[in-house]
């Protein structure tokens, strides 16, 4: 079997005979094949009607485009079919359980999609005079307030574009704060269970990574943290609840130790969904934390983005937020203006991005927060944790929990030891879930357990939905143990595609469409 660098098998299994009969078109009832845009579109076709303006003297300074671009066009009905057919080859949270651990695939309320399209919020330019957009600045200010209260942190940077960008922002603030003390430190402590963006972020800023192993129980060992701290350590980047779905119970002591060494505590807040209204990071000694609005606050993932990653800051780091920030109802956009103040932003380190951040995500997240209120947000966390524990308890007798039968937070982590000797891998197991109509859980992450399967049901699942999900997984486990290999190694059997050859994609990269070589030219 071929493996990729994660040790994850990628080669396809033997081709199947196919399920059911072949069709002339290759379509299968409602499942309709769709060729590439470049195969269905024509360069002389167009789906928009634009005014004909005739000739005029251009002022392009001799830089006129002469070559054809080669862009195919589609009429509107063709475009509708192209994209509707393609959409039907996607799984989505609106279709069923999407238990991707660490990703928080929760319901995306459509009210959010409505408010974000209000002309006064959607159709405004980031550089039109501030006097013409007080409502927009208020949206950002209100969301900032909700985030600060919810986390118990006094300052927030709203501009980061996603979680990883928020990490970059937080680590820059830490670096700036150290610099203001006349220090440049070399190391950042990152637990082995951390998301890849944590070490990647620290490395971008020139830090060396000191990996902190997980303890037997899946959490970080205070003593090991202490051993690794020194006056050359800038920060620890700790996820809490961590990526094993566990709350770091020594967090306060870890924060104290970090601060005693003159370092800062960066908390990866991707898992905030478990503790909203239960505990505030500000009370736990956190210095800065990014919040993924596209996880906890339901802004849609959209097949990979966009997101938004505001970062909350402690008193210690508050002066070091990036531009722009809101002060007294105004957007402060430049350094000189910022330096006039005290506290938040007074020692701003500069800009993370053009303009002011992901407004479209802010409006959705604020809509979501106002909808839930303090009581609803707390209920979210309780239900998310309840659902995850329910799944855990319903599966723990036949799947394997790497850290024993103890409560988890919003996600339940299993390893692959229950599959030992079955010939079924985590990947096979995940692909078999597809045939049952489920999106697989997060696989092979975190790296600290073997063949990880991380299940995050979120608060959006009903009990009945979870009962069926659990029953399906149990059935799969029995099948694996009973040696029904074909159900796994050949899976998926019933998806629009059989197993995809990811190794080939990487070995012989074809990253764009190119016109087929004309027959004569090829001869």
């Amino acid at each position: 079997m071929t493996m990729n660098s994660e040790g994850r098998p990628t080669a396809p299994s033997a081709p199947s005979q196919g399920v059911g009969r072949k069709t002339f078109t290759g379509n299968r009832g409602l499942q309709i094949e769709e060729a590439l845009l470049f195969e269905v579109g024509r360069v002389d076709n167009c789906g928009v009607d634009l005014e004909d303006i005739g000739d005029f003297d251009s002022r392009l300074g001799g830089l006129e485009r002469e070559r054809e671009i080669g862009l195919p066009g589609l009429s509107e009905p063709e475009a509708m079919r192209h994209y509707v057919r393609l959409s039907q080859k996607n799984y989505a949270i609106d279709m069923g359980v999407y238990p991707l651990g660490s990703c928080t695939m929760k319901h995306n309320p459509r009210l959010n999609e409505k408010t974000v399209r209000f002309a006064g919020l959607a159709d405004i330019h980031p550089l039109q005079p501030q006097s013409t957009v007080p409502g927009a600045i208020e949206v950002i200010g209100q969301l900032a307030h909700w985030l600060k209260v919810l986390t118990g942190m006094p300052a927030v940077a709203m501009s980061p574009k996603a979680g990883a960008h928020g990490e970059l922002c937080g680590m820059m603030a830490i670096t700036a704060a150290l610099k203001a003390r006349g220090e440049r430190r070399q190391f950042v402590l990152v637990p082995e269970s951390a998301h890849g963006t944590n070490p990647a972020t620290a490395a971008l800023l020139g830090y060396k990574i000191r990996a902190i192993p997980a303890r037997e129980d899946g959490t970080v060992d205070l003593e090991v943290v202490k051993e690794n701290l020194s006056d050359d350590v800038a920060a620890i980047m700790l996820t809490n609840p961590n990526t094993c779905g566990l709350f770091e119970k020594d967090i306060v002591e870890i924060a104290d130790a970090v601060h005693a060494a003159g370092a800062y505590f960066y908390c990866d807040g991707a898992n905030l969904n478990a503790i909203m209204g239960k505990a505030r990071p500000g009370d736990l000694g956190v210095d800065c934390m990014h919040i993924n609005l596209h996880k906890t606050f339901s802004t849609p993932h959209g097949g990979g983005g966009p997101g938004a990653g505001p970062v909350v800051f402690s008193e210690r780091l508050a002066p070091f937020v990036p531009l722009p920030f809101i002060l007294d109802g105004k957007l402060v956009e430049d350094v000189t203006e910022a330096a006039k103040g005290t506290g938040e932003g007074s020692q701003t380190f500069g800009r993370m991005t053009a303009f002011h951040g992901q407004m479209g995500m802010f409006v959705r997240a604020l809509t979501y927060m106002i909808s839930h209120g303090a009581d609803g947000l707390l209920q979210i966390s309780e239900d998310a944790v309840l659902n995850a524990n329910y799944v855990r308890v319903c599966l723990q007798d036949i799947m394997s929990l790497p850290f024993g039968e103890r409560p988890c937070m919003h996600e339940a982590l299993f390893d692959d030891s229950f599959l030992e000797g079955s010939g079924v891998t985590t990947l096979d197991f995940a692909k078999a879930m597809i045939d049952e109509g489920y999106h697989p859980m997060t696989m092979y992450f975190p790296l600290v357990v073997h063949g990880a399967m991380l299940i995050e049901p979120t608060e959006s699942e009903s009990k009945a939905g979870l009962d069926l999900f659990v029953a399906a997984l149990r059935d799969l486990v029995f099948a694996a143990k009973a040696g029904d290999l074909e159900r796994f190694t050949g899976a998926p059997h019933l998806a629009p595609l059989r197993r995809v050859d990811e190794t080939r994609a990487a070995r012989q990269p074809i990253l764009r469409w190119t016109p087929p070589v004309a027959a004569e030219a090829a001869e």
Binding site: V43, G62, T132, K278, F355, H372
Partner: protein, 448 residues
């Protein structure tokens, strides 16, 4: 709560199944003294109607671009987006899918990404493109880091044509990553001598065309000079429609092209979310940041697509990754790609002509106003004017007359007194004769 399916009896039954008495038993790992006893100090849940009213009230305080004659650009442009685009991107299967990690049930997203990458490569005149960055400005900072990795040289030189926010983002990144940077001062129509600054430590020169002030730059001699010195040319474009009228950066020799794709398919949205286009030469592929979608086959030999070359990325390489980017601009790529496929070659070229023509008409009319000077020679749909007086004050006065007449350069270059009388003005296909006339009348009034 309308979004939460569990009822109290469900909750009770589940707690029993789990074997705990109360929900807080599941939160036992949180230190007791840190558990909140009360609700946080925020309003309580409200119904859909009430939420809608609150948000509508906030929206009502703003002047929507579509409600007034509107000429603001500077890296974000108001264009007409066909209704089809917004309808399609709101389909559940696109809107509520995650990153396509499971290709067997994500071909919709994957195929559209592959199509997007191809469109971007064609537009920029490059060989390969990734599946998007957050936006143009962050893409620009990534491009500089990429050039530094490729050339193993520390220095980047930023042209004065670069959008001041982009410059600030690159400056910030360079400062923290410990790279050298030379930033040239911008000014409209400026002929800068970037070539003489290129030395054997230079990783790249970064040039925007159309520039922030609207000027078009012939990139070919710059590419040649950079290449002769072993450096790369990074071309930046903030108005994607311009690709329909102007020679592509690839054709002029650029090594990396970074663009803000917002103009196609995506609304203004007060600055985000937008979509960063990122394209380069095949030979630099392994140093490219971001996700990439590639073609492959399934076990039955059927053509399909999957995310690939992930050994560059953070989830595999961790601290050795080319970038830390994870979530990107997925849905904005889709909007871009749908709009672009509706336009096609014919539509994009026509749209570009329309934009250019409208800008010429506007420039001609503004230039006739006494005291107003046109500062840009060759331009696409944006140019700079000099006004007799403080530009920021004039823009406020215009806004009071319900005309959003451009960007006072001082907003982005607050330290530069020499630019305080400049306004960057954009014209697109949305502007009518009446809009232009209203602008001229208002500006005349404000100046007199």
């Amino acid at each position: 709560m309308r979004y939460l399916p569990l009822t109290d009896s469900d909750r009770q039954a589940m707690l029993e199944r789990i074997g705990v008495d109360q929900i807080n038993d599941l939160f036992a790992d949180i230190p007791k003294d840190k558990l909140l006893a009360d609700l946080v100090d925020l309003p309580l849940a409200v119904g859909e109607l009430q939420v809608e009213r609150q948000l509508a009230a906030l929206a009502a305080k703003n002047v929507a671009a579509g409600s007034v004659p509107f000429f603001v650009g500077g890296g974000a442009y108001r264009h007409h987006v066909p209704a089809t685009v917004d309808h399609l991107i709101q389909r559940s299967e696109f809107l509520t899918a995650y990153t396509p990690y499971q290709p067997e049930i994500s071909q919709g997203t994957l195929q559209t990404l592959y199509e997007f990458q191809t469109q971007v490569a064609l537009l920029t005149g490059m060989e390969v493109a990734n599946a998007s960055m957050y936006d143009g400005s962050t893409g620009c900072a990534e491009a500089v880091l990429m050039a530094q990795r490729i050339t193993k040289r520390p220095k980047a030189i930023l042209s004065g044509t670069l959008h001041p926010h982009y410059r600030a983002v690159v400056e910030n990144m360079s400062e923290f990553s410990g790279h050298d940077l030379v930033s040239l001062e911008g000014a409209p129509g400026a002929v800068e001598d970037i070539i003489s600054l290129i030395d054997d430590q230079t990783a790249c020169i970064v040039v925007q065309s159309p520039g922030f002030y609207g000027d078009l730059v012939n990139l070919a001699p710059l590419a040649e000079a950079a290449h002769a010195a072993g450096a790369l040319l990074i071309a930046v474009v903030t108005e994607t429609i311009s690709f329909g009228a102007i020679k592509s950066p690839g054709e002029m020799g650029a090594d990396i092209v970074v663009a803000e794709g917002q103009s196609i398919g995506n609304g203004l949205s007060f600055g985000g979310p937008y979509v960063g286009l990122f394209a380069t030469r095949q030979k630099y592929l392994r140093q490219m940041p971001g996700r990439i979608c590639g073609e492959t086959v399934d076990a039955d030999g059927q053509r399909c697509f999957a995310l690939t070359l992930s050994t560059r990325e953070q989830h595999i390489r961790r601290e050795k990754a080319t970038s830390n980017i994870c979530t990107n601009s997925g849905l904005c790529c889709l909007a871009f790609s749908i709009h672009m496929s509706l336009l096609g070659e014919v539509g994009l070229r026509k749209l570009a002509q329309l934009n250019h023509r409208n800008a010429i008409l506007l420039a001609d009319q503004l230039e006739k106003i006494s005291g107003v000077e046109l500062m840009t020679g060759a331009f696409f749909n944006e140019f700079t004017i000099k006004v007799p007086g403080n530009a920021a004050t004039i823009i406020e006065a215009l806004a009071a007359k319900n005309v959003l007449g451009g960007i006072p350069v001082s907003r982005l270059e607050p330290g530069r007194d020499d630019l305080a009388d400049l306004i960057v003005v954009a014209a697109t296909e949305i502007n009518t004769n009446e809009d232009r006339a209203a602008f001229v009348v208002a500006l005349n009034e404000v100046l007199s």
